[in-house]
């Protein structure tokens, strides 16, 4: 754990809440915070449409908006490399794969009334209860915690150079293990999607 992390943890002590609030201001959000909030609202709205729309292809297209909004949030959090990886992998390939899946399972174009299953209301209850509990705990825990975005941006924390350095210095072994996992997933997908009688003839 770094020193900055410990000092940030110490800033959570109840007595220093007012002090931290005085230093940063609860009621005067910075421009980054306003941008984060607006993009967050768009992202959350697109996510809600994704899970509630009756049109299956529209769900995939709203998922693009959600994932793109999250990429913008990563940029605002100075994680530049991750934002571009998000655009490349999620918006570029995962959504295309999902659209392929929808087409190959002959999903109806247009409204399909049976997109939601019968346990819709229990699901809504579970989700709202989980959201209330999580938001309550998170706001209570991090009420007086601020991210030093200027320092992170000045140090180039999320740039490609820094990312490459820590990824190939400290995380080489997990990275290589991950490449083996991707290979296994590739082979598994090919084996699964090959036609059964293709090999026997």
């Amino acid at each position: 754990m770094t020193g900055t992390g410990l000092t940030a943890l110490a800033a959570q002590a109840p007595g220093t809440t007012a002090l931290a609030a005085k230093a940063h201001g609860f009621l005067s959000p910075t421009g980054v915070e306003v941008a984060f909030l607006l993009v967050g609202l768009v992202t959350l709205g697109a996510a809600l449409v994704t899970v509630t729309t009756k049109q299956l292809v529209h769900a995939a297209l709203w998922l693009v908006v959600t994932l793109g909004g999250l990429a913008v949030e990563y940029l605002l959090l100075t994680a530049e490399f991750i934002a571009w990886v998000q655009v490349l992998i999620y918006v570029g390939s995962v959504v295309v794969l999902l659209l392929f899946g929808l087409m190959l399972t002959k999903a109806p174009i247009g409204r399909s009334p049976d997109a939601d299953s019968g346990n819709r209301w229990p699901a809504l209850g579970v989700a709202v209860a989980a959201a209330a509990a999580l938001v309550w705990v998170v706001t209570d825990a991090f009420r007086a915690t601020w991210i030093d975005l200027e320092g992170a941006a000045a140090a180039g924390e999320g740039s490609t150079k820094v990312t490459g350095e820590f990824l190939f210095r400290h995380w080489v072994l997990p990275f290589e293990a991950l490449s083996v996992l991707l290979l296994a997933a590739l082979v598994g997908a090919i084996v699964l999607s090959r036609r059964e009688n293709g090999g026997r003839r």
């Binding site: 991750i82 929808l102 991210i147 320092g151 598994g188």
Partner: protein, 119 residues
């Protein structure tokens, strides 16, 4: 930036994905909701990495790993869904009841296929 903004957004996105996983009927829509939940976790990881300024950058490294694992998961998941669709003619998770206790819900297509297999 106040840490509450990304943390609350991640929590709400996670619960949106939770609702989608529980309420959707099409298997591919369930996979989309799983992606939403994974992305909420990624946002949390990035926000806490920027907050803690860890020397190892564990948050950003784990975010990259999560993205790669999500790509693998969606590939395998779609292959399985397509296989189920090819065998059963539906990707409707409400109708895949082979593991249910009663055994009365066997679909007509399944019975046809079983008869074909025994013949």
């Amino acid at each position: 930036m106040h840490l509450v903004y990304p943390a609350v957004l991640a929590a709400l996105l996670f619960c949106t994905g939770l609702y989608g996983v529980l309420a959707r009927r099409n298997a591919i829509l369930v996979l989309m909701s799983v992606e939403l939940m994974l992305n909420a976790v990624n946002l949390n990881l990035v926000a806490f990495d920027v907050w803690l300024r860890d020397e190892l950058h564990a948050g950003q490294a784990l975010t990259l790993f999560t993205i790669a694992i999500a790509a693998a998961e969606i590939g395998i998941g779609l292959a399985i869904v397509l296989l189920v669709y090819r065998n059963r003619g539906t990707a409707d998770i409400d109708r895949l009841r082979d593991l249910a206790e009663s055994g009365q819900h066997t679909e007509p297509a399944d019975r046809e296929r079983q008869a074909e297999a025994t013949a």
